[in-house]
């Protein structure tokens, strides 16, 4: 698997994404309870790429991850992994695909996602044992190898999750995913339960895994700043829609969607030198009240919170390429879904700090 992945990246790193999510709509619940969780989401992950998926609680980040691994079925659109449409699989075919372990999910809170009664050995090797085809000695060797990749000692094998530290638990979760020899790693808030030092350790580990195994990784986070040191591309979700998607360095130096800018301005920092303050990006009492036309389902998802909304925002904008010299510098596409993506930065600078 790894060798194949490495091979692919050499031949056509730009052309074919390993994973593509195409125009996916997800609706959870039925009838009056129906909740449109994802609308027209497109996402491509290429070999060896780290993609950061950012958004607040309820923006659909976790649902997107669950859709990719086949735990949630999209109402429309498709998920393609390595040329095969995985969102179509049902029953036995879905089970077989899952047991291949191509896409592995690392969950948010290791204390709750790891069985407290199992030892590290059992947790990391469980998937391999269920998949079958390996004798116990091989399983053991793979488990120790997976632990080594995340910097853990084989001495932890007989411990339970309660007997190791929070940072070590998150590394065990990653080792569990790696033991399946995945082609893609999906990490759902891998660092939000950790302190700053452990957070950096885990992020660095994920970066190393990408470098050594050429493993593509999707990191879901509500915190933009934790992606700054590691991701290649960032995708910003707001209420089930992608509002901005582009190379990290460009998006972070001049965000084109007001929500991305608000996220950046809200992140706490030990330095006080933000280009824009949160007050310049939030609606205040001085702003005119949000009209009814901006509160309907067809309006821009961010319009009701956006201080720059105009009448045109009553229609949800599509993701469109960002124009300008900065956009073309990297060669990677950069898109934003905002009618006023050209005007709002200047308007924001004129607002009261």
């Amino acid at each position: 698997m790894t060798a194949q992945a490495a091979d692919r990246s050499v031949t056509d790193a730009r052309a074919t994404p390993l994973l593509s999510v195409e125009n996916v709509d997800v609706v959870l619940g039925r009838g009056w309870r129906a909740n449109h969780v994802l609308s027209g989401v497109n996402l491509a992950v290429r070999p060896g790429e780290i993609v950061g998926l950012v958004g607040e609680t309820g923006s659909g980040k976790t649902t997107l991850a669950r859709t990719i691994v086949g735990l949630v079925r999209p109402r429309s659109g498709r998920v393609v992994y390595d040329g095969a449409e995985t969102s179509r699989l049902r029953g036995g075919a879905l089970r077989r695909e899952r047991r291949q372990g191509h896409v592995q999910l690392v969950f948010q809170d290791p204390l709750r996602s790891l069985d407290p009664d199992l030892t590290v050995d059992q947790i990391v090797g469980e998937g391999l044992r269920i998949r079958g085809g390996l004798d116990p000695a091989e399983v053991k060797a793979r488990v120790i190898e997976a632990l080594r990749k995340v910097g853990l000692d084989a001495g932890l094998l007989s411990r339970t999750p309660g007997q190791i530290s929070g940072g070590q638990r998150q590394r065990v979760s990653i080792a569990r995913a790696l033991a399946a020899d995945p082609g893609l790693l999906l990490c759902d808030e891998p660092v939000s339960a950790l302190d700053a030092s452990n957070r950096n350790y885990i992020l660095r580990l994920l970066g190393d895994l990408r470098d050594t195994l050429n493993l593509p990784i999707v990191i879901i986070s509500h915190d933009l700043s934790s992606l700054a040191g590691i991701a290649d591309r960032v995708v910003v979700l707001y209420r089930g829609r992608i509002v901005e998607d582009g190379p990290v360095s460009q998006v972070f130096s001049a965000p084109k969607h007001p929500y991305t800018a608000l996220l950046m301005a809200s992140a706490p920092s030990v330095k006080h030198d933000r280009p824009l303050s949160v007050h310049q990006l939030r609606r205040t009492d001085a702003d005119p009240a949000v009209g009814r036309e901006l509160r309907v389902a067809s309006a821009c998802v961010f319009a009701a919170r956006c201080p720059f909304a105009i009448d045109a925002c009553a229609v949800q904008p599509d993701l469109e390429p960002v124009a300008g010299p900065a956009a073309n510098a990297g060669g990677d596409p950069w898109t934003a879904a905002c009618h006023r993506r050209q005007e709002w930065p200047a308007l924001a600078r004129d607002r009261k700090q």
């Binding site: 607040e56 609680t57 309820g58 700053a196 700043s225 700054a228 360095s249 972070f252 992140a267 030990v270």
Partner: protein, 339 residues
């Protein structure tokens, strides 16, 4: 300790030791700190550094098996160290309010949030049903909940995490306490909501002259909110001072390391540094500096004798033998970048 404390001192903790595991180990060692009216004091440190135990001691709600071994806690210059449970009950809400990390676990899921705030007012302030209702709406407005009349009748599941935290803050300030203790009150929230709650706490401090003791493991959050900061490591205070001084000129190697791993917020690609090693076990007996085993700048003198908190400047203290060594910062930088 000499002379009379300033008149506006709300909370004072003096040389506090807290024992855990029924006295088998000491988890908090010789902590001293004070909080004044209109001041926000931050406590920062890794998990297990004794921040939460210190808070709980100051609230009179230490968990089972823990007790105060030594030291005093005074609230508004009155010794409350040996206060009876009834005495604490009188103080809770009216003297000291508390806000914790996970708001949904402190509210009854099946009752409207308004009725839960009103209940506090009826019990603590002996308000009538009507007056409690009106006061609750007033509080909801004060904590920035839009449409308070609607929120009053909603149950916790119908509100977002940020709104629930505002409800918890409304409960904490409902009986007009002079001190709020907030333990990781913004940790579970989205960054946009966290920024709003930080502003709310600052506004409440400004408008009501509240004193706030704010606990966080994130120095960046402390920077945004606090006036003074106390840095905890393995149950001890290793450095304390004004936020500006601690951020601009940290003197203890642990504080310097914490700053290097904290969020910088400049969004430029940079090295992700880590503090190598693990903190000592709770209650471990160590001669000398408790951080020495992880410290990139440790020398022999660090391990031979206990190190006291030394005054470096007015209001700035650090527990490090090399605190005045001009080469210290350079050593830490070189060692951490190399790892």
């Amino acid at each position: 300790m000499t002379g009379k404390p300033p008149p506006d001192e709300v909370l004072r903790i003096e040389d506090l030791n807290v024992a855990v595991h029924d006295g088998a180990a000491t988890a908090v060692r010789g902590i001293s700190l004070s909080v004044h009216t209109g001041e926000i004091v931050g406590m920062v440190g890794e998990s297990g550094s004794g921040k939460t135990l210190t808070c709980r001691a100051a609230l009179g709600v230490l968990p089972k098996g823990c007790h105060i071994e030594r030291g005093t806690i005074s609230f508004e210059r009155e010794d409350v160290t040996q206060l009876s449970p009834r005495g604490w009950q009188r103080l809770h809400g009216t003297g000291i309010g508390a806000v914790f990390q996970d708001p949904s676990s402190y509210l009854t899921p099946s009752l409207s949030v308004g009725s839960q705030v009103a209940e506090v007012l009826r019990v603590k302030q002996k308000l009538s049903r009507r007056a409690a209702h009106d006061k609750t709406l007033e509080l909801f407005t004060a904590v920035g909940l839009r449409n308070p009349a609607l929120v009053f009748h909603q149950i916790p599941a119908e509100l977002s995490g940020g709104m629930l935290q505002r409800v918890m803050i409304a409960i904490a300030i409902s009986c007009e306490p002079r001190l709020i203790i907030a333990d990781e009150a913004t940790t579970a929230l989205d960054v946009t909501i966290q920024a709003e709650i930080i502003e709310l706490l600052k506004d409440l401090r400004d408008q009501r002259g509240l004193a706030v003791l704010f606990v966080s493991h994130d120095l960046a959050v402390i920077r945004e909110l606090c006036d003074r900061v106390v840095v905890f490591y393995a149950g001890e205070v290793v450095e304390s001072g004004s936020v500006e001084e601690i951020i601009e000129q940290p003197r203890h190697p642990y504080t310097q390391a914490l700053l290097r791993v904290a969020s910088v917020g400049d969004y430029q690609r940079r090295e992700l540094e880590v503090i190598a090693g693990q903190p000592p076990r709770v209650g471990a007996e160590i001669t000398g500096c408790r951080f020495a085993q992880r410290c990139p700048a440790a020398i022999d003198a660090c391990r031979t004798a206990p190190i006291s908190l030394a005054k470096l400047a007015p209001g700035h203290q650090a527990r490090c033998v090399r605190a005045n060594d001009p080469e210290l910062a350079g050593v830490i930088e070189a060692e951490m970048a190399a790892r």
